[in-house]
Chain length 400, copies 2
Amino acid sequence: MENQFPEEKFSTQYRNIPVSFVRSILNAIGQQKMISFAGGLPNPSLFPVGELAESTRAVMAAHGGTVLQYAGSMGYYPLREWIANRYSAKYGMSITPEMVLITNGSQQAIDVISKLFINPGDGVILEKPSYLGAIQAMSAYLPDFREVDLEEDGANLAQIEELFLDEDIKLMYAVTNAQNPSGISYSAEKRKDLAMLLRKYNQFLLEDDPYNEICFDGEFPAPVKKFAPDHVAWTGSFSKMVAPGLRNGWVVLPPALVPHFDKVKQATDLHPNNLTQYVLHHYLVHNDLDEHLQRIRTKYAGMAECMVEMLKRYLPDEVHITQPTGGMFIWLTLPEGLRADELIHRTMERGVIFVPGNSFYTKGQGSNHIRLNFTNAEPDDIQKGVAIMAEEMKKLLCAV
Amino acid sequence: MENQFPEEKFSTQYRNIPVSFVRSILNAIGQQKMISFAGGLPNPSLFPVGELAESTRAVMAAHGGTVLQYAGSMGYYPLREWIANRYSAKYGMSITPEMVLITNGSQQAIDVISKLFINPGDGVILEKPSYLGAIQAMSAYLPDFREVDLEEDGANLAQIEELFLDEDIKLMYAVTNAQNPSGISYSAEKRKDLAMLLRKYNQFLLEDDPYNEICFDGEFPAPVKKFAPDHVAWTGSFSKMVAPGLRNGWVVLPPALVPHFDKVKQATDLHPNNLTQYVLHHYLVHNDLDEHLQRIRTKYAGMAECMVEMLKRYLPDEVHITQPTGGMFIWLTLPEGLRADELIHRTMERGVIFVPGNSFYTKGQGSNHIRLNFTNAEPDDIQKGVAIMAEEMKKLLCAV
């Protein structure tokens, strides 16, 4: 077993998890300095470091013995209460703390829901493109992914209804706000219409919503959850609104689903991190979160604008740019004949990386797309990186 | 879907996860005050609250931006290095940081290894009794559990070899030090012999070792891992040696298994909590851990002795008491005709709870056993609780 582990030991479910392109590319470049539009990191200059340090001090002083002990698997009640209150008020919903469970980022909610619902071969509807982390988490439960088109205002409802009607569908997964990778948000109408379909066909949606608070222009419309509360698990995350290193997110569940979700979660890792839950709660009740969020939105909107401007200035006219209204990504559609997976080999040699679109599809499509992250590069690097991408695109287009 | 979630939505794997007796009993008693020997909590008076508060302050001051950002899925390298160095030195092993991955307690390592190895129907060897948390985590992957007897010096090797020879076994799971629930530790010889069997039959062991540092009388012998490094995943945990609320444990893997384990873990929840990893590392390098561990050992040894003394004083002579050499539990074997699941209904009414043995078996056995936790009750409560258990045992014995 020295260099290679005997493959026959591994489960079918494991073999089904796709390799992360981002990860393999990061391994390939090692410690080399790159202009990276590939990651999905919040900008660390916006982390409330001082405030969280103070919250950490206060929590350890007041609750040291409690936060260090084992705790409930559902999460710290006051934090669940804070989440319930904020989102009830924000969207006129009736969320109780009992419906809210704390998870290790919203990623863990995807794993738990998948374990709870998916038998091998079960139909799972994905947007095309979809979030890579969800594809990876769900793949471990051997679903039959069914993809529907993602349009400018959300997923294609006719295709969804056809699948609900004709196929054995267990679950739909969607990111309704500032989707990773496309940046697309569902229109208010489409949210209501999707909710109606869920109720009509008694189907279940995992509405993954980590970018809920990162809307450049005010607020995103109310979630699908509001219009079909018993048919939706709605996730949220502190990763983008406060800091990802604390690894705390949440899910709002139909009450009847709570004990089942909790049982799965408990079997996975007992309970969420107790210290960081207390710290987050202390931070949230002692600081002006909305002021903090406004700083993030203003900064990210500026960075997105800067990148869009550079893209328009340098890229060939045939490249379609999806203008983001929030979140952290810009989505490019390349003209016929230009393949993102060819392009990246050339830009990598010149020190620029991004994520080719096929990472976000389950059937090998998407090579004419590119995901760009705009929250972690300085304007000079954006200009330099986009210019290099443009030059290499033009060379490839000439060769077509 | 209002009160009950439609059962047909749930996966087969979910339905296979057994209910936790401890949890259902805790739900039943609600907020009622009980003398509890049922839990598995470290004694909070031993948490190094002041030291961890100082470490938290220092980490936030020096590395605030870094600890709050997304981080590597394998864990914080200096912490992995600290673990590799400590256990290499302790047991004369050659562990490198690259073999060590940080998990959410050792519980997550059980889930990840299970996802990586177990296909539905695969044979998994368990000790009889076995750790409930492992039974729950593994059950979600639909294994065929094969139980072997746990003797005073570890699992029955002849039974293991027979299974290795005759059956389609994918994995063995064992707690080799101060097992939960039995308190049993493997002898030095049995560790070597089990390692030999693993190598001979090319089998794989998950050696779960959360109580490694809680040996009352010096140190436990070297782990099975030492004698079959390529055939064992060896877990550890900071829950018992520092504090469980930080939710950080680790696993030492054969190098060839590392990228596979990491891929599964990443798909589950991206990466371990960054803040608490830094805090633990700072605490470990700035404090005298061995002095701290000595305080835990002395305290727990005293509490175990107190409980054993009470058990000997009050319980009927026919009850067999396993004297613990470490860890947190005492294991009782009841005489013929006395059932722990009947007993607990009577003691609960009188305010005393424990865990009946059948929680630790997969085929309904074990009702003549009781697990008692001794790390979280005061001497007065121990005396009172044991006396009540004894009275109810005697009543039941008279009725036999």
